[in-house]
């Protein structure tokens, strides 16, 4: 009996300390980790979209509550004016979700560009959505009126050959982004005011 109690006590104390140490460490590294994730996962896409921006789009960001999800928007300042926003959406690809960073020009109301952030598509096929800029650059400067579709579905986006599912996922993610943008536009405009230089 005594041995039994000892076992329980030792394990409890050990787990208690372990939990405490880890909780403390997590709290103290959380902010740094979040920044690192933004920098290395979303950073490259955001920087390509806002090429030539006068600010650091990773640092200039805000969040808006959209129903249950909290969305992060990156701001691109051009000539002292916050002209672009970028945020992430996702579409169902061949190997899971394809994350897409979508940049929208709020002044001209068109696409500023897009970039794939995370994906698990087949190397050499669907993975070209990220590695080959000729596909993703088709979204640049397109209008926001119509949903994006690949040519096989009656749209104007040329799919990556051999990777129609991935191309559809990217188009769907971009279309989603427009819907979200139009829904949240009043809030976005309000938040953007503070980035005027």
């Amino acid at each position: 009996m005594r041995e039994m109690i000892k076992m329980v006590v030792v394990l409890t104390i050990l787990s208690f300390f372990s939990g405490g140490v880890l909780a403390y460490l997590r709290n103290s590294t959380q902010e740094r980790i979040d920044n690192q994730v933004l920098e290395f996962v979303k950073g490259p896409a955001v920087r390509t979209i806002f090429e030539g921006a006068g600010n650091n789009p990773i640092a200039d960001r805000f969040t808006i509550e959209d129903g249950e999800v909290e969305r992060t928007f990156f701001v691109g300042v051009f000539d002292g004016e916050p002209r672009g926003i970028a945020f992430e959406t996702s579409g169902k690809g061949y190997g899971g979700d394809v994350g897409l960073m979508v940049g929208i020009n709020v002044k001209d109301n068109n696409m500023m560009g897009a970039g794939v952030t995370t994906h698990a598509e087949t190397p050499g096929m669907g993975a070209k959505a990220k590695s080959d800029p000729s596909f993703i650059s088709q979204f640049k400067d397109l209008g926001l009126e119509e949903p994006f579709k690949v040519t096989a579905d009656g749209g104007s986006i040329n799919a990556i050959s051999g990777a129609t599912i991935t191309s559809r996922a990217v188009s769907a993610a971009a279309t989603d982004a427009i819907e979200i943008y139009q829904k949240l536009k009043p809030q976005i405009d309000e938040k953007l005011m503070s980035f005027k230089k």
Partner: protein, 201 residues
Amino acid sequence: MAKSLTQEFVKGLWDEVPPFRLVLGLCPVLAVTKSVENGIGMGVATTFVLVGSNVLVSVLRKLIPSKVRIACFIVIIATFVTVVELVMQAFAYPLFLKLGIFIPLIVVNCIVLGRAEAFASKNGVFRSLLDALGIGVGFTLSLMALAAVRELLGTGMLTIWVTPIQIFGPSFQPFSFMVEAPGAFMALGLMLCLMNLVGKK
């Protein structure tokens, strides 16, 4: 027969070097040795966990009831692994992206549990520390050696830290299968063979 303190450290470098002599912990050995950089990262992470868990297990060895010792060891090891994971995410995120799942998997690396069970739970703190350091450094060096062979043959380059260095000239045709999974088995097999030849008396 009791070993001297130096022997405790040195044995991990050759006599009991984990992947080649004990043939333990092969999962990360095969998976992450695509570049020297990955090998170093994995080796250092494992060494940290080994040292931490060995010392703590040794300190607590009289308090831990023998029936639940494995559970206690795993709690200790898992704590150190999570520490490594968080620190690596915060300070070396690109490396973390490359090593990915293999960092949390250090928890089930049998070298770590093996040293806790076979050594630290029976020996003093200082000896356990030396043992962990020896095994850890040996593990790191073997990962580096294996990674160097694979990366050199597979890509013609060596990545010590972040930027790859071109070793062979442009006329070199890389054996790209060396950086794929089958190449890992080949390289490990040849390495084992070489070490057995050298160690043969």
